[in-house]
């Protein structure tokens, strides 16, 4: 009982009301209500084309829903853009890595843009955490797709954002890398952050009941 009261006293980090999404005249989901608290790890499930990416993009504010609202700290995300974006790290399908810049330059730019503290030593350390030691000064155009993804994931190690929204973060990452990322997620939610992700794999280092699930059913129309 006391636990319930405690959770009801702290407002949810993100809450979603009556979310409806329509893409190409197809109803992806209808009247979705979600609450995500600090310390949650949320896995969005569903077959291909069920709207997982659309949901994550709506949560991050990149896409506008057909109907419904997204709140951050009980404020509409469109009305608290700056605060929300300070606390948001979104990694989509596209890594956001420029081929004309080196791995280190890419990471440094992305971190600075997000406002995360960084310097040359830091960058090198962070890149080694995602197994990119020795590639710091290679132009990203000479690196593989998996390495691009790791450059973008490296930001997680330095992020000060509370909310991580990750679309298929494990694509093109090896087993060891996945384990390292899961440990990172654990540390993050322990510190009062939350992780919202899509993946086709099970999260192995988490207890099944620890992971909140949102299942999107494909609605045939």
């Amino acid at each position: 009982m006391s636990v319930n009261q405690a959770t009801s006293l702290t407002p949810p980090l993100i809450s979603v009301t009556n979310l409806t999404c329509i893409r190409e005249e197809r109803l992806l989901f209808d009247q979705l209500n979600i609450e995500i608290n600090a310390g949650d790890i949320v896995q969005v499930e569903g077959p291909n084309g069920s709207g997982k990416t659309s949901l994550l993009r709506i949560l991050s504010g990149l896409s506008q829903p057909f109907e419904g609202e997204v709140f951050f700290n009980q404020q509409l995300i469109s009305q608290s853009r700056e605060e929300f974006h300070q606390d948001l790290l979104y990694l989509g399908h596209l890594p956001g890595v420029k081929g004309e810049m080196s791995a280190a330059e890419n990471l440094s730019f992305n971190l600075t843009l997000q406002g995360a503290p960084n310097n040359a030593v830091n960058i090198e350390k962070t890149l080694s955490a995602v197994n990119l030691t020795g590639f710091e000064d290679s132009l990203a155009s000479h690196l593989s797709a998996g390495q691009h993804r790791r450059i973008s994931l490296a930001r997680l190690y330095k992020s000060t954002a509370k909310i991580w929204i990750l679309d298929e973060p494990f694509t093109a990452i090896d087993k060891q890398g996945v384990r390292a990322l899961e440990l990172l997620f654990k540390a993050h939610i322990k510190q009062g952050g939350c992780v919202i992700l899509t993946t086709h794999q099970d999260l192995l280092t988490f207890e099944p009941e620890q992971v909140k699930k949102i299942t999107l059913d494909y609605v045939f129309d």
Partner: protein, 229 residues
């Protein structure tokens, strides 16, 4: 939060520096529109005939139309690659105001494409026998006018960046907006050729520049939000 200490100016120079670095490592983006500019201008004497009098009469129009077209050609690079590799999303999701980021990218675009155009224009003016009194007016109109082209063009790119084969559509959207700049710039150069003062036309172009500088970044920001939706 630590973010607050990143001032507008710091964000602006961060993005500007990044775009210039990328352009310097990818020099085609600078050279190709410039070559296009030169080639288009060379085509006119071949098509019209080499009489110096005719050429000097139409030189302002030719140089300015060629400048419009080569700007149009280079506009695609402004947001396209950032859109395709996901950097644009990340910029829109940063806590900084979108108009600062957009303005930095537009300034970078002008430095990469507009400035070289201005530098090479006197050479083309020689080829077209432009009236000697008009050189100053040509340079001044280009200096004030090409930023307007970059700013207005950015709105068009912002709207079409998410569309496959948006290139032709872009020209349909942007070229009508370039008409006032074209009219006042060529008229200033013509007036200068007659030895008359052309500060009036220049003032209007300056007003267009100030107007688009203040309004365009917001329109571009709104357009990009639609395009990344």
């Amino acid at each position: 939060m630590s973010i607050a200490n990143l001032s507008y100016r710091a964000v602006f120079s961060l993005v500007l520096k990044r775009d210039l670095t990328i352009a310097m490592r990818h020099k085609d983006d600078i050279i190709n529109p410039l070559l296009f500019f030169v080639i288009v201008v060379t085509l006119f004497p071949l098509g019209i005939g080499p009489e110096a009098q005719t050429l000097s009469r139409i030189a302002p129009g030719i140089i300015w139309v060629a400048a419009l077209l080569s700007t149009l050609l280079s506009l695609d690079r402004l947001f396209k690659s950032d859109h395709d590799d996901g950097s644009l999303e990340q910029m829109l999701l940063s806590p900084h105001p979108v108009f600062i980021l957009v303005l930095a990218k537009i300034v970078a675009h002008w430095l990469i494409t507009g400035l070289p155009l201005i530098l090479i224009a006197p050479l083309l003016a020689v080829l077209l026998h432009l009236n000697e009194q008009s050189y100053g007016a040509l340079m001044l109109t280009l200096l004030l006018g090409t930023p307007v082209l970059s700013l207005l063009g950015a709105i068009g790119v912002g709207l079409t960046v998410g569309i496959k084969k948006g290139g032709v559509l872009l020209s349909l959207l942007v070229l009508p907006l370039y008409i006032p700049v074209l009219i006042f710039a060529t008229s200033a150069i013509d007036t200068a050729a007659l030895g008359l003062p052309y500060s009036g036309q220049l003032a209007i172009i300056a007003a267009l520049f100030i107007g688009s500088l203040t309004l365009a970044p917001f329109a571009v920001g709104a357009a990009l939000k639609v395009s990344t939706n």
